[in-house]
């Protein structure tokens, strides 16, 4: 674990050659590729609902054959015509996170000023983003003064394109108030976070899992080591730049002496 903790991103094993292109591909953001056909789907979809259920007469003159205006669409994307739901097209802008005002937020802002980055609510759920330097203070205050005595979950989210790449998320619950809140801190890659084990013993395994999956080091943790993956695992799988195939390719190369067909 010690070497691991110094450089969480030191993922580069000997198999440099095999890895480089794969990483480049991963950097292109895997999310984008499925996005593309999706966009096409949406484009095709718009005419079809108008055409299919009711208004074949309204189907503008451009759509030449009166009998089956859906035909071109069907040819382009066979899966689409099924989605002939009249409600689809305008799609109201989804709800946006809105500022969350409350006594708690005001008093936090008064005390910590710019340490409180933002306080939002979304779908009735509240979360407050704080500076990582005051995180332990905030958590302690949440437990003692605000009654959030139960730490439900600790997790992280990786945003590789952001300057502060990680969100560390604490889901808290208050038994006395029957209320949930999320406390988040944005941190840079390699930045350490103060461990919350002293505040909630349950943080022990949860932080170990975050370390295992993201490589985020929690300072002051009694035994920060991998929990789900083997000790000798390379890299941290839930980072967005982690190549799923890399480990497999390397194994094939070392043990079978051939290039992996994956």
């Amino acid at each position: 674990m010690p070497e691991e903790s110094k450089g969480p991103e030191s993922v580069s094993p000997p198999a440099e050659g095999a890895k480089a292109p794969a990483e480049a591909a991963a950097a292109k953001n895997p999310q984008v590729q499925p996005e593309a056909p999706q966009a096409a789907t949406a484009a095709v979809k718009t005419p079809s609902p108008a055409a299919a259920p009711v208004a074949s007469s309204e189907a503008k003159p451009a759509a030449a054959p009166v009998a089956k205006p859906a035909a071109p669409a069907a040819a382009a994307k066979p899966a689409v015509p099924a989605a002939a739901k009249p409600a689809a097209p305008p799609k109201p802008e989804g709800p946006k996170p809105e500022p969350w005002e409350s006594e708690l937020v005001t008093s936090l802002k008064q005390q910590y000023g710019s340490g409180i980055v933002e306080a939002l609510r979304y779908m009735g759920q509240k979360y407050v983003t704080v500076d990582s330097s005051i995180l332990p203070e905030i958590l302690l205050r949440m437990r003692d003064a605000e009654g959030f005595d139960y730490c439900v979950d600790i997790t992280a989210v990786h945003y590789p394109k952001r300057e502060q790449q990680f969100d560390v998320v604490y889901v808290l619950y208050s038994f006395p108030h029957n209320e949930r809140i999320r406390v988040k801190a944005r941190i840079h890659d390699g930045e350490h976070v103060q461990s919350a084990v002293a505040i909630w013993p349950t943080a022990d395994w949860l932080e170990r899992e975050v370390f295992d999956m993201f490589g985020i080091v929690f300072e002051g943790h009694p035994g920060l080591k991998r929990i789900l993956l083997p000790e000798d695992w390379k890299g941290h799988p839930l980072r967005k730049d982690y190549d799923i195939l890399q480990q497999d390719k390397e194994w094939v190369q070392i043990n079978l002496g051939i290039e992996s067909g994956q």
Binding site: G94, P95, V157, W200
Partner: protein
């Protein structure tokens, strides 16, 4: 937080210590051991029979469910959730579907909610039956295993008739249910309720006043309520310690607010109380089933959900009361068809952490009892 909840890691690297001058020894339990309920490895540090400390080694069943979630669409990820807590697959699916529905800002229609509640409560009973059977077996009572599994069959038959699968059911879809109830569904559930209540008495006859059972479970693995909260323990384990907290009541989802049931709690927080709480919970589940079957409304079973699920940008945490405790999903959406991040908050994983606190100072045989009473499923611990 009291000092007893402090988790100490075992100092296993002390090479120069021989066992000649000390009575301490390190014993490895698992990962292939019948009483560890799967592939859990527990390292025990012992002073004679007494447990000085434990350390759990987990991850043998890790499949990277959260990573898989990032690489599948919302719909495609749904069946994967069944494979986490495979003893209570229906609950996993319910939690996931509800979370995505929350992201989409839709709600399942009333009829779907009732179907969901009926199946989840059946699933809760079947999960508790598996727990009862295996837990009793660990302690040395062989018969409850056969009784529990025999009766669980009736639930699995209902599942099979409803959706074609017995264990990994994939019963729900985002927005409601995909299958309408089959002909005779209500009768089957009613029949099960009348069939099951006497069976439950049978289990209790075997165990509740059984002298061996009581000796093996009373005052074993005591967990104080404040320790439960500090350790994040939820579900029947928390309730057995006297904290009356159930998400079905605290933050009702589906149609639980319309149903009348009680939250059984324990007093001492020991293994015996946890047994009583779970048995009482099964009775309450039957009560819920009877009400739900009688008041199941007519109507659609699927809300208006787009074929391609693309929730707006945002993040949501939602949790339900699974048979083992609070099962939470934290999903971050970036507006695409795939979740940007799926986090599962597994009750078994968090509850297992309490093992160390519970068995310190106890005997090795009690470790077996405590692992059983925590009701862990390694598929969920490791995900």
């Amino acid at each position: 937080m009291s000092d007893s909840t402090k988790l100490d890691y075992l100092d296993l690297d002390v090479k120069d210590k021989t066992f000649l001058d000390t009575t301490e020894m390190v014993l490895n339990m698992g990962p292939q051991h019948p009483s560890t309920h799967g592939v859990l490895r527990v390292i025990l540090k012992l002073d004679g029979e007494k447990v000085l400390g434990t350390e759990c080694i987990i991850g043998y069943l890790h499949r990277g469910v959260e990573k898989i979630g990032e690489n599948r669409t919302y719909t495609m990820f749904n069946p994967y959730t069944d494979r986490m807590d495979y003893v209570a697959a229906v609950s996993n699916g319910l939690g996931y579907c509800e979370t995505v529905e929350k992201l989409l800002n839709v709600e399942a229609p009333a009829r779907a909610q009732y179907i969901r509640v009926i199946l989840t409560e059946l699933c809760r009973i079947s999960s508790h039956q598996v727990w009862l059977g295996t837990h009793a077996l660990d302690i040395g009572a062989l018969t409850p295993l056969f009784y529990a599994f025999r009766d669980r069959e009736e639930i699995l038959k209902i599942f099979e008739k409803y959706c074609g699968a017995r264990l990994t059911t994939h019963a729900f879809r985002i927005g409601g249910c995909i299958y309408e109830t089959y002909e005779g569904f209500e009768e089957d559930v009613k029949k099960f309720c009348t069939f099951f209540l006497p069976k439950l008495d049978e289990y209790e006859e075997l165990l509740t006043t059984n002298r061996i059972w009581v000796t093996r479970t009373k005052n074993v693995g005591i967990l104080k309520p404040e320790d439960c909260i500090a350790l994040g323990v939820t579900g029947p384990v928390l309730r057995a310690s006297g904290v009356k907290w159930d998400l079905r009541r605290a933050q009702p989802y589906e149609c639980y607010k319309d149903l009348d049931f009680e939250i059984p709690t324990g007093v001492n927080g020991d293994t015996y109380d946890r047994y009583l709480v779970r048995v009482a919970e099964m009775r309450q589940s039957v009560r819920i089933l009877q009400q739900a079957v009688d008041s199941i409304p007519a109507g659609p079973i699927m809300a208006k959900v787009p074929k391609v699920i693309k929730p707006p940008v945002g993040e949501v945490y939602h949790s339900i009361e699974a048979p083992k405790g609070e099962l939470g999903y934290f999903i971050v959406s970036d507006g695409s068809t795939q979740p940007y991040r799926v986090r599962v908050r597994p009750p078994s994983f968090v509850n297992l952490q309490a093992l160390d606190v519970m068995v310190r100072g106890m005997l090795v045989a009690d470790v077996v009892a405590v692992i059983g009473t925590l009701d862990i499923v390694l598929g969920e611990v490791d995900r």
